[in-house]
Amino acid sequence: MKLQGKVWKFGDDIDTDAIIPARYLNTSNPEELARHVMEDADKEFPNKVKRGDILVAGKNFGCGSSREHAPIAIKAAGIQAVIAKSFARIFYRNAFNIGLPIFESEDASQGISEGDIVEIDADTGRIDNLTTKKTFTAKPIPPFMQELIASGGLIEWTKKKLEKV
């Protein structure tokens, strides 16, 4: 599967309060959450972001709260994928569990600028910056996470597991 989109760039340590502020957590409706995505990092972002765009960030993306609302808001805003130098642990889990494609690459995080068009090969982790013609490789996705993706997320994986029992 290939994902192509225009890049929005963010810095290090983007926390879950920046991704979706707690004042909006009195709902878990994805569309409502999407209307406030990244609002405290960039007030205009919810108006600027377009379906199919890609986020590129620095280290420790998604640090802080365990709120699954964070990857849900990103996904519901139509963002196809997130590339970062590193991800905070719970965000990493949540993204796989709900089916938001994420890719870890220090080189890509540094070598991609806002507005660049990138193409990600989700199967191989190859990231092409079509604007600058540079190529990067994301860290391989662990086999268990690949199994989760292949099953369609943790809920489907759990269903299958319970059926076997």
Partner: protein, 419 residues
């Protein structure tokens, strides 16, 4: 093996586990709150399981936007109640019995040494203070675990922190953990277990240990943990309603890192906006004026915290430019504070005392900051907009410093009040 590896091995029927290994482990307690449980409940229903794996091991606690702050929050809280009734969950806590989850579960003896605990709340790592493996996960993880009683984990590497020397006056567990996060950074322990050890930890109260483990996540940690000892035994033996197990770390264990701190060099520490790692000694910040003081939260809303804060404000008045809000973390703590006369001290000082709630810590309710306002809080996060307007600011400290700052109207230490 480390204590973390031993607990995880015992929960997946293995003799040994190693860092990096992926395991499926049995969980002893599962937790979610009024923010995270609604998604977990919806996802659980998609699985199609008839019932939960164990109705006595799932704690649903409406503490974030409760007492219900608005209609939407009330609808979310109601989902917890309805689900708990439907499945006969014994660990549902209605307002009046409810406390802040990470204070309530240890206090009630629901989480115990040797347990594996997952919670859809990042501060689930608090229970490591009891010698449990406890970690925050997402709502979907909780949904799956409610059906199966299991959760997948990557066995974490461990960092050993050794605290030696003796504590300076007004320095508590909060200062040790803020100092540590300031040293290693907000991703300094990413994916790792933070094991707190040393002669200072050996003498540290359970309340301060809970504070330290609570903030492991602020260094990116998967968990914080302290090997159980006499202090743990004293705390749990009067609370536990089931068996528990003490695990320890072997002497020849390989740690990813070993970091030592001479506590005589650690002063009361404040984390400045907008990361918990942005720490400074309190005496470098005496020029910072404040509008609000918050004492409470899963980090510092326990008896030790309220006693220290009360000792600082006793016989004094909160600065006229400041509002001070105190949140006892549970009903039991509230009652004990009442019996010890602490509530009266706070009211006489012109502070307000609230029902237990996470409230302002995450910018929910009960003390939200306006644009340009500044708070010092005993909470755990000072991200942009954490307590209200994106242009408000939060400084993090221990309860003694927060209380002294309330009196001074600016950031300061109890020593400035002659204490």
């Amino acid at each position: 093996m480390t204590i973390t590896e031993k607990i995880l091995a015992s929960h997946c029927n293995k003799k040994e586990v190693h860092p990096g290994e992926l395991i499926n482990a049995k969980v002893d307690v599962i937790l979610a709150n009024d923010i995270t449980a609604p998604i977990a409940i919806k996802e659980f229903e998609k699985i199609g399981a008839k019932d939960v794996f164990d109705k006595d091991r799932i704690a649903l606690i409406p503490d974030h936007f409760a007492p219900q702050k608005d209609i939407k929050a009330a609808e979310q809280c109601k989902m917890l109640r309805d689900f708990s009734h439907k499945h006969g969950l014994s660990l549902y806590f209605e307002v009046g019995r409810m406390g802040i989850e990470h204070a309530l579960l240890p206090e009630q003896g629901i989480v115990l040494p040797g347990d594996v605990v997952i919670g859809a709340d990042s501060h689930t790592c608090t229970y490591g203070a009891l010698g449990a493996f406890a970690t925050g996960v997402g709502s979907t993880d909780v949904a799956a675990a409610m059906a199966t009683g299991e959760c997948w984990f990557k066995v974490p590497e461990s960092i050993k922190f050794i605290y030696y020397g003796s504590l300076n006056k007004w320095v508590s567990g909060k200062d040790l953990i803020l100092h540590t996060i300031g040293d290693i950074g907000v991703d300094g322990a990413l994916y790792m277990a933070m094991e707190f050890t040393g002669e200072v930890i050996d003498k540290l109260s359970m309340d301060s240990r809970l504070t330290m483990c609570n903030m492991a996540i602020e260094a990116g940690g998967k968990s914080g943990i302290i090997v159980p000892d006499k202090i743990t035994e004293e705390y749990v033996k009067v609370r536990a309603k089931r068996q528990y197990h003490f695990y320890n770390s072997d002497n020849d264990t390989n740690y990813a890192r070993i970091i030592e701190y001479d506590c005589s060099k650690i002063q009361p520490t404040v984390a400045c906006p907008s990361l918990p790692s942005n720490t400074k000694p309190v005496n470098e910040l005496s020029h910072i004026t404040i509008d609000q003081v918050v004492i409470g939260s899963c980090t510092n809303g326990r008896m030790e915290d309220l006693r220290v804060a009360a000792s600082v404000v006793k016989g004094r008045k909160v600065n006229p430019n400041v509002r001070m809000i105190v949140f006892p973390a549970t009903q039991l703590i509230y009652k004990q504070a009442l019996q010890e006369g602490l509530i009266e001290i706070f009211i006489d000082a012109e502070a307000v005392v609230s029902t237990p709630t996470c409230g302002p810590c995450l910018g929910g309710h009960m003390g939200i900051l306006a644009r340009g306002e500044r708070a010092i809080a005993t909470t755990n996060r000072n991200f942009v907009g954490r307590m209200g307007h994106p242009e408000s600011e939060v400084y993090l400290s221990n309860p003694a410093v927060a209380a002294a700052s309330a009196i001074l109207g600016r950031i300061g230490s109890p020593e400035e009040l002659g204490l």
